[in-house]
Structure formats: structure tokens, C-alpha cells
Symmetry: C2
Subunit: 193 residues, 2 copies
DNA sequence: GACACCTTACTGACCAGTAAGTAGAGTCGC
DNA sequence: GCGACTCTACTTACTGGTCAGTAAGGTGTC
């Protein structure tokens, strides 16, 4: 009989979940082991048991994100590109509702203060996300569901950059995210939805 | 006879200059008075003399940026919109060359960890920058030098968000900035330059 | 009795911020 | 033209708090 939760993975997962929320709202440098242990009702050293160095926690966080993102992409690979884009927009909305920004945004903003191990996997993660955005608009163009000027690389990159930027701006100007989403629809020639 | 430099303004300016570089490359939370005093060859308390709290330094930094930005905008208000956009692109390049990101990017990413006074003037600053981007594309459209889908608000906001995002991404993917710049030119219908 | 998963107790580094003192330059009365 | 005063721009020396990280011990489970 497979245990639903064993203590090991359970606490470890709770730590990662809390750390993720903290990173996406405050940034990696701006949260401490105290924030996590306090919330979790354990001692500081318990976090160090699972993640000896904060760098270990950071790397685990990013790697989990990469796996989750890969699953997310695979799960809806068969959907029409415009619908994938709308799902992406919905995802951004949930970040906005939680007052968070996207991981690539906070990681690239803090990049110069991150340990080298984290920089490494951040680079891979961000490249994967950008490539996915490029892929959506490329397939959208091929299937005739999207029309736009320029290359899929240019369009995908600007979509990704604009979404990352607008999630940050939306913290200060609540309307920015909706405005950017709508403008992206127009630029891709998919005004109806 | 007016003194070229008196000690007061000189040290104060050097502190602001150094703090600005530190903030744009490492972020506001990730630099300390030690970073500045060490580089400047003074003691820590000298910084506290000019800026009692770190919040004071942060606010002074943003307010100086706002004044500089206002002068920058005024100085080229008469230029044709497409040229203003190119100047903006050139400005972004100099940030990239210095491995920095734009102030609105770092400030909005760190927003939740900033003191309230800094959040306040950050909001004003970011709104001014966004409005400026909107104004460029609006006038570009009115003068017939730019053609694009959607409203000036939508297009200006996406241009601003995409530039902010791509400056961050460019730290990990050097090509992102050029790609976004070129795509913006295409989307505004000003491919030649 | 071995191992996973914690605890208590601690270290040293760094941090923002403060208090009190000082050197030098300018100003004033005389 | 000279002492007394004052102000600016620092200094030294310190505090209390927070941080990541470690060592050693305890406790329940297989």
C-alpha cells in the first residue's frame, strides 16, 4: 500500500510550496528561512535538514518549476494555439490575483545577486519558456489561426517579454495586464475569443 | 565666483550615483551602505549623515530619476516620434551594456519589499514612463509615421512592458533585446530607420 | 539498532541605525 | 587682525536585530 503522505516528502513539499509563494511575491533574496519555519511551525534547522544551503532550496525551486512547466506544455500540446495563448493569459491572471510576478521576472531581475548554480538553471528555464512562446505563435501562423508581421521568434519573444513586464507593471497599474493581453490578441490577429 | 564643486553636494551626488548603479544591477534590497562607503572611501556613518535612513536614499534616487526623465522627455519633445523611439532603444542598449535593468523593472519586481514611501513615488514614476510611451505612439499615429492595430494606450503599454521585460531577459539571452526592438519597429510599421 | 526527521543551542557575518566627538572653514564682534 | 562661536561634514565606536549555517542530541519507526 502506497502511503498518501510520508513525513519526508510532506514537509519537504510544504517548504517548497511556501518558498515558492515567498519568492514570487518578495523575491529570492528577500525571504529567509525564518519566514518559512515560522509559517510551518517548525524550527529553522528543520529547513536546513531538507535544504542545507539556501542555494539548494533555490535550485530545487527552479527545477520543480521547470518540471511543472514541461508537464503544463505537454498536457496542452494538442490544443489550438490561440486557446493555448488564452490559457497562458489565464495563468497570468492567477499570478496577478495573488500579487505575484512570474518566476522568470523575479529571477532575471535578481540575477546578479543569485548564486551561480541558480543562475545556471534560471537560464535554462527562461529559454524554455521563451521557446514555448515562439512555438505557439509559429504553429498559430502555420495553421492560419494567427497573422502577424515578422518572424515567430520576434513575435514569440515580444509576447513573452511583454507578459513578464506587464505582470510587474500590474502591481502598480492594475489595468496594464488586461491592456497588454488585449493588444497581443490584436497583434496576432485573433481579436475574437 | 561660483564654486564648481562644494563638498556638500559633491559627496551627496557621488553617493546617489553609486547607489543608482547598485540598485540597477543588484536591486534596492541587495545593496548596503557598506557597498557605497567602501567604494567611496568614507565611513558608513557618512552615508547616514546625508541619508539618515536607507528609505531616504531610495526616495531620493527615484525622485532624481523622475526629474531626469522629465528633462529627457522635454528635451526631445519636438523630435519625430519614430526618432524618439530609436533614442529610447539606444538608451535601453546602454543599460544592457552596463548589465543593468531599467529602474521601473527592478522597482516593480521588488515592490512588496519596499518601504511605503518608495512605493508611492515608484507608482508615479512608472505611470509617467508608461504615459510617455503611449504619447509617442499616439503622436506617431497622428502624424502618419506609425501604423498599428489597436489603441495608442494598448500599443504604448505593450511597448513599455516589452522593453522592460526584454531588458531583464537580455541578461540571460543576449539576443532578446534586439529581437524585441526589431519586432516593435515592425509592429509600428516603421521597418526602415 | 539503524535511520529519518526533527530539536535546542550556538556561531560569526552582516545589516541599518545612533551617539558622541572632531577637524576645518566661515562668520562675527571688537 | 584675532579670539569665540557656529556649522558642515565627517569620524570612531557602538547597539540590537537578522541572517545563513552548524553541531550535537533526542525521538519515533522499521
Amino acid at each position: 500500500m502506497k502511503p498518501e503522505t510520508d513525513a519526508r516528502t510532506d514537509t519537504r513539499k510544504k517548504i517548497l510550496d511556501l518558498a515558492e509563494v515567498l519568492m514570487l511575491s518578495r523575491g529570492f533574496n528577500a525571504f529567509s528561512y525564518q519566514h518559512i519555519s515560522g509559517e510551518l511551525g517548525v524550527r529553522n534547522a528543520a529547513i536546513h535538514y531538507h535544504f542545507p544551503k539556501k542555494t539548494d532550496l533555490g535550485v530545487a525551486l527552479i527545477e520543480r518549476y521547470r518540471r511543472r512547466f514541461a508537464r503544463y506544455v505537454a498536457a496542452q500540446a494538442e490544443l489550438p494555439p490561440p486557446l493555448q495563448l488564452e490559457r497562458y493569459f489565464t495563468l497570468a491572471d492567477t499570478y496577478y490575483d495573488k500579487q505575484q510576478i512570474c518566476p522568470s521576472g523575479i529571477l532575471s531581475a535578481e540575477l546578479h545577486t543569485l548564486p551561480p548554480e541558480m543562475r545556471q538553471c534560471t537560464a535554462s528555464f527562461v529559454e524554455e519558456m521563451r521557446a514555448w512562446a515562439v512555438d505557439i505563435v509559429r504553429r498559430g501562423q502555420q495553421e492560419g489561426a494567427m497573422q502577424y508581421a515578422g518572424t515567430p521568434e520576434g513575435m514569440g519573444t515580444i509576447v513573452f517579454a511583454a507578459m513578464q513586464g506587464s505582470l510587474q507593471l500590474a502591481r502598480l497599474d492594475g489595468g496594464a495586464l488586461d491592456e497588454v493581453k488585449q493588444q497581443i490578441r490584436l497583434l496576432l490577429g485573433i481579436s475574437a475569443s
